[in-house]
Symmetry: C2
Subunit: 223 residues, 2 copies
């Protein structure tokens, strides 16, 4: 039952912009945008907030560069990570249907994001039917990602959650990669405490599947 899903990404000719590579050109400027920072693009430092849960939702965002995390906080103040966002991902689509953002989005690494005011996006969708198709595709991909998260949070035990998450963030076997989040944040994403995350990581190390070096990790090819 192991099935490879296609992601719908990188179907068009490469343009240097990961959103355009997915066919998304939600702004009139897109056609002439060469990927360098310019009007409408936003640079976020590490820890910078793209938007906050509950704020007026008037902008859709396209991630150009960096890693961000969608999180949502319960009334009791407990944070739950929704998913990680990377180049080409879309967020803030609540703006299409709701007046408020449902989650907060924080940059885990320095990031570059394209801001698309909702009015501009809707105008473009209304005139350029291909953009509608492209955005639907992108949203369908995001939904698949959310379903994956549900499969992690529902039936998966802690050890497996941690291994899955680390593998998703790591590079090829043997390659060192710096994690963009600490144990607590990893815990928020996986609905575990930082202590449990730490213990699971140690267990992977002891089992010889993983090496760590501060926030850098690498998986070892199984012998």
């Amino acid at each position: 039952m192991t099935v490879e899903w296609t992601t719908g990404r990188a179907t068009a000719a490469p343009t240097g912009c990961p959103a355009r590579d997915r066919g998304l050109e939600l702004r009139n400027l897109c056609g002439s945008c060469d990927g360098r920072p310019r009007q409408g693009q936003l640079r976020l430092p590490r820890r910078g907030m793209l938007h906050l849960q509950g704020e007026t939702a008037d902008t859709v965002f396209l991630v150009i560069e960096g890693t961000l995390c969608e999180t949502r906080t319960t009334e009791e103040g407990r944070a739950q990570g929704m998913r990680l966002l990377g180049p080409g991902d879309v967020t803030g689509t609540e703006a299409l249907v709701s007046g408020r953002y449902q989650c907060s989005v924080e940059a885990l690494t320095p990031a570059r994001v394209c801001r698309v005011p909702i009015a501009e996006a809707e105008a473009r969708l209304a005139t350029t039917s291909l953009q509608g198709v492209a955005l639907c595709r992108a949203l369908a991909v995001e939904m698949m990602g959310l379903r994956e998260r549900i499969m992690v949070l529902g039936p998966m035990p802690a050890q497996e959650r941690v291994e899955t998450a680390l593998r998703a963030m790591a590079g090829d076997d043997g390659e060192w990669v710096r994690l963009p989040l600490n144990r607590r944040e990893l815990g928020e994403l996986l609905a575990l405490t930082q202590e449990t995350v730490s213990r699971c990581v140690q267990r992977l190390k002891r089992a010889g599947t993983l090496q760590t070096q501060g926030r850098r990790i690498r998986f070892l090819a199984r012998a």
Copy 2:
């Protein structure tokens, strides 16, 4: 932090078709469809499967009537419910980006569903830009629903999960409603065992917030 989200539903003039009420007319026939069963519509009996996880994804579905459940099964055979579908909901959107369905969809009550072959949907999206906007809106709503599910599966303890789920399915306080699923299925949706679900329900009864009568339940207005 209690915020009311609008659902994006029922924005257009009522037509008798919940999908069209959301602005979705993905087939050429839609304009003349009066909601009665006809070409393209599918009737499912209780327990009927709309599609299976892993099958070739070539159709998008619009729920017209009834309640269905998206579920996904792990390699070890454990089922995890994704979400409940009701009139106006869209499912099978993996067809837009992937060759295979990511989940199975089962009818919990007798249901009526509109089948939209992906080729037809794409042709329509490509020619009718307003349909792109409508489908994007619908997908954004579905994403919000999935995020809600993550908030249930992540930080919420069993008791609260069960109460939340039951309240979502129940009618107004004092009104009897027949649940479309049994304890085991409720457990699959909430990532709990049927025993735990049962215990939580009993606890609600003992607390006086709920009455049950076979599969019928009602919440009592708090005094």
